[in-house]
Point group: C2
Chain length 276, copies 2
DNA sequence: CGTGGTTTTGATTGTTGTCAAATGGAGTGG
DNA sequence: CCACTCCATTTGACAACAATCAAAACCACG
């Protein structure tokens, strides 16, 4: 397991997760590398005033490079920081009694993987790197602090939690009510769309560095069946996955099979602002 | 469909389950009937200062009695109020293209069924009464306003959204990774526990006014298979469901089959308070 | 005493899981 | 540069859980 841990702040010699953000308009430190991706993500769904953006950008964090399989949160173990995906792919999962697992969320660049843990630091779920990834660990205290100082941020955080919920809801619906091909197709449509929105690919060609076993855990299937289902889609939609890179010739056919409709991703900025 | 709608405003000479103790110091209006259930629910997971409780209790709302099948929110239709369950049972659902549906959440007394809609008024999901129910409609504007005025409330709302998410996550895991008996047993364990916590029954004997068809929609099964599975549990755990009332002789056996562990319900009040 | 919805039962089909083994590819050390 | 290993992918044969189709029994309600 690779732990290339290092301080993310530029001109400091100090270790530890010590320093606090300067929230005000003062002579700010250069933004923490990676943090701007999170701000972009939030602004996808919320209108944030400039000072709120600045406050977020000035949050310090600890950058970490982790290898595939590295656990960033464990069910039942309290944590005091959230995990921002700077690059790579993380998964949220539920562990079953018999050892099998169900992946309940995938997180790509710009996602704060466990924003949930800010109000609820003792998670019932786990977070794991599904591929080699770069993450930025941001302390709950700091996040709560900007959230308290800027009501717009509090609302944006809440809103992002709801978006996550909406995605999970669709996921559950697919698990309960659709067959293997639909489920796989839907996952690919979703991740393609999300990658495109995040600016790291097109929906017909994007990175998804997951093994078929991990896909199986996400889709509630077995590895064997994922493989067979993929062979089907390969034929009907010109799908190919090689070296963690997805490519689809006939995206519309894929979306058709998936009954894909992206409204559940809540990509329109929600109107309602704060009341004065 | 019965629509006994009425304004729940204070100075109406109205009858009903009206008057409440005055909580705050100020010359407050009598609390809206039903609202105290929501406050109890929030206080299960969050510590709320007195003035925040008072603010919540003084929120106005419109009481509604709805019959089974009544839709309180429709996917893709913007709404401007949230739905508090005063009594009965609501379900959140996802509609599939072929007309089948998946229920993704059940809401009992005290639950704000779509707190989600406060930051995201255009839902991708629907809310429906699974049984005759009494609900209290509370405007988003009011909820956002108390939330902005009381950071503790904002955090409590966010936290409740996370709890809902955690439950959904477990639901998804069960849909993806367990068989019919486990799934049904788990649902019964969960609803029993939640009913007990909400103070409306014991986990071995509580109301769950759902038809087997609705259960099937919640469990991702067919009516037929729900029925067969129930017959199995009837034998192994002394389960009986009659007239919407569940009774279990051997609760431990049921929990065993379900691999039930209630930590995901997040019933411990989360410690982290606001930073000053 | 009918009527409509819900529950129950039976027979059969089909999607997916299980078990097992072969193939392929990337990285490692001799 | 070539075995060798580890892991991921692919293929096959078979079993099992759950869906489907169909109809009967039951129950609350007017």
């Amino acid at each position: 397991m690779t732990w290339v841990s290092r301080k993310a702040s530029p001109a400091d010699g100090a270790p530890a997760s010590g320093d606090r953000p300067r929230t005000g308009g003062a002579p700010v430190l250069p933004p923490t590398p990676g943090m701007e991706r999170f701000v972009e993500r939030l602004r996808l769904r919320s209108v944030l005033p400039l000072d709120a953006c600045a406050a977020l950008l000035s949050l310090r964090g600890r950058t970490l490079e982790v290898g595939r399989g590295h656990q960033l949160a464990t069910p039942g173990h309290e944590i005091d920081r959230a995990t921002l995906v700077v690059d790579g792919l993380l998964g949220r999962f539920d562990q079953m009694a018999d050892g099998s697992r169900q992946i309940t969320a995938l997180h790509i660049r710009g996602d704060m993987a466990d924003l949930h843990s800010v109000p609820m630091p003792l998670p019932a779920w786990g977070i794991e790197a599904l591929a080699p990834s770069t993450v930025l660990l941001v302390s709950h205290a700091d996040l709560r602090s900007v959230s308290a100082a800027h009501p717009a941020i509090a609302l944006a955080f809440w809103r992002d939690t709801v978006a996550d919920s909406s995605i999970l809801s669709k996921w559950a619906a697919n698990l309960g009510r659709t067959d293997a091909a639909t489920r796989l197709a839907h996952l690919l449509c979703e991740m393609g769309t999300r990658a495109q929105v995040a600016g790291i690919g097109r929906r017909e060609a994007f990175a998804l560095p997951m093994t078929q076993a991990q896909l199986a855990d996400a889709l509630g299937l077995t590895t064997v069946h994922v493989n067979r289902t993929m062979a089907t889609l390969k034929q009907s939609c010109g799908l190919s996955i090689a070296a963690g890179h997805v490519r689809v010739t006939d995206w519309l056919a894929l979306a058709e099979i998936a009954s894909f409709d992206d409204t559940y991703l809540l990509l329109e900025p929600a109107e309602p602002q704060l009341v004065a």
